[in-house]
Amino acid sequence: MSDIAWIDAALTAARPKAVGALLRYFRDLDIAEEAFQEACLRALRTWPDKGPPRDPAAWLIFVGRNSGVDQIRKRGRLQALPDEETISDREDAEADIAERLDASNYRDDILRLLFICCHPDLPATQQIALALRIVSGLSVSEIARAFLVSEAAMEQRITRAKAKVARAGVAFETPDVNARAERLATVSTMVYLVFNEGYSQADPAREAAAFADEAIRLGRLLLGLFPGEPEIMGLLALMLLHASRRAARLDTAGQIVLLEEQNRALWDRSQIDEALVLIEKAIRHGHAGSYQLQAAIAALHARAATAAETDWPQIELLYRMLEHLQPSPVVTLNRAVAMSKSQGPEVALDLVETLSDALDGYFYFHGLRGNLLMQVGRKAEARIAFDRAIALARSPAEAAHIRRQLDCLKQDGLPAT
C-alpha cells in the first residue's frame, strides 16, 4: 500500500468524527465540510513527510477548525481572533488538547451527523445518498453512478437534501437518554437501508455493491460508540451474515442461487464468526429486538453445514417472536417458508393464503405460493401464481428463478396453455 493509499484510508476512517465535531463547532454543514476538505488537503501535503499524527481525527479537527474560523473571518462574519488562535499544525501536542476537548463529544457528534441525514421528509434514497456523501465521504460522481443517474442530477439532489436539512435545524445540545435512543434507532434504520441498497444489487461489479461494505463500516462505528447496545450488535451481525454469502449468491451467469442451493464453502467464515460472537453478546442482554431476531435467524442458516441440517423449527419460532414484536405480512410470509420446511407445504399454504390481500403486489408472495401449490400438486394454480410472480419480478435474476420452476412444472407433463 502506498503512502497515499494509507493516508486515504486514515482520512476516510477519521471523517465521521472530524466532520461531526466540525459541525458542532460551526453549526453549518457546508462550512464543516469545507473545513474538513481543507484539513485533508493539508494532511496530504504534510503527512507523507512528517508521518501520520498519533490521532488523525484529532489532528483533522484541530486543523479544520482553524481553517473554518479563517474562512468565516474572511467572509467578515467574525472579528479577527487573537494571535494565539492562529493555525499551527506542527505539533501533535496541540491536537492532543483538541482531542481531550472532543473525545467526550465524539459519540453525540457522529450520531448527530448520521441523524441529520435521516430527515423524515427525505425519501429513503436521498437519505442514503446524503449519508454516503456527508458521513462516508463518497464523491457525488460515485454516488451518481451507483444510482444510475447523471452527476448533475445527483449533485442537485444532494444540494436540495442539504438545504432541507439545514432549514430543519438540528438540536446541537447534548441529547438526553430518550432522544439519544430515538436517534440511534432512526440511524440504525438508515444504515440498514444503505446496506440493502448495496446488497440488493444483482451485479456485484456495480458501484452500489460497495455500499454494503460501507454500511458494515458504519455499523462497526456505531457499535464502537454504543458498545452495550444489543440492537446495534444485532444490526451489525445481520449485515455481516448477509454479506458473508455474497460470493455464493449468484451463479456465473449472474442468476440468484437460492440459499439452500448455495455452495456453503464460498461463505465468508470470518464474517460469520464475527456475527456469531456479536449475537451471543447481544443475547446476554436479554432484550430481544428485531435486528437481533433477524440476525439469529440468519445465524441458524450460517451454522448449518448443509441445507438439510437447517434448524427450521427454531427458525419458525424466531419468526414467531419477530411477528409478535413487529407484526408484518412479510414476516409471516417468511414464517410460512420455515413452516413448509418443518411441517410440510399444506400448513404453510394455509398460512400463505391468509396474506393474499396484503401481499398481492409482492413478488415473493406469488413465488412462494406457486412453489407450495406445485409441491401439493395443484399445478394449474401454481402456473398462474408463477406467471404473476414473473410479472412482478424486479430483476432478470428473479424472473429467471421463477421460470426455472415453471420449467419443472412443464417437465412434469402439465399441458402448455
Binding site: M1, A9, A10, D55, R217, L223, M233, L278, K281
Partner: protein, 124 residues
C-alpha cells in the same frame, strides 16, 4: 526465549481498508513470517476481531462485571499477536521492524517475553 509480539494499530483505519488493500498487506506479512515458520521458530499467530466483538470481565465490588467492548478505550487497539522463539531481543526487534515496514496500519509492535507458555490443544 519465547516472545509475544503484539501488534497495535489504529483500528478504524485498518477496518477502512478495501479487501484488495487488506489482501496485499496480509501477503507481505506472510512473507515476513515465512522464514521463521520454515525454521520452526514461529508459534501461534492471531489476528483479532474488531474491539466491537470484545467482552471484558472486570472486577466489581462484589461480583465481576461483564462489560461489552475492549479492556480500555484507546486510540490504538491490540489487533494481533505472534508467538516466536528468538535467541535474542535483537532478533525480536529485527522481526518487529520487518513487520512494521510492510504494515502501514500498525502503529506499534510491543515485544513481551514469556514466563510460561502452554502450546494448547485447540483444533479449530
Amino acid at each position: 526465549m519465547l516472545y509475544a509480539i503484539l501488534c497495535y494499530a489504529h483500528e478504524e483505519t485498518v477496518f477502512a481498508w478495501s479487501k484488495e488493500e487488506e489482501a496485499a498487506v496480509m501477503e507481505k506479512l506472510q512473507a515476513v513470517q515465512a522464514p521463521l515458520a520454515a525454521s520452526g521458530k514461529l508459534g501461534p499467530v492471531g489476528r483479532l476481531m474488531p474491539t466491537t466483538a470484545a467482552t471484558t470481565v472486570r472486577k466489581g465490588k462484589t461480583e465481576p462485571l461483564v462489560i461489552d467492548g475492549p479492556f480500555a478505550e484507546t486510540k490504538e487497539a491490540l489487533l494481533g499477536f505472534y508467538v516466536v522463539d528468538f535467541e535474542t531481543l535483537d532478533e525480536a526487534v529485527a522481526f518487529s521492524r520487518e513487520l512494521s515496514a510492510v504494515n502501514p496500519g500498525s502503529s506499534s509492535y510491543e515485544i513481551r517475553p514469556f514466563y510460561v507458555f502452554r502450546p494448547g490443544e485447540t483444533r479449530s
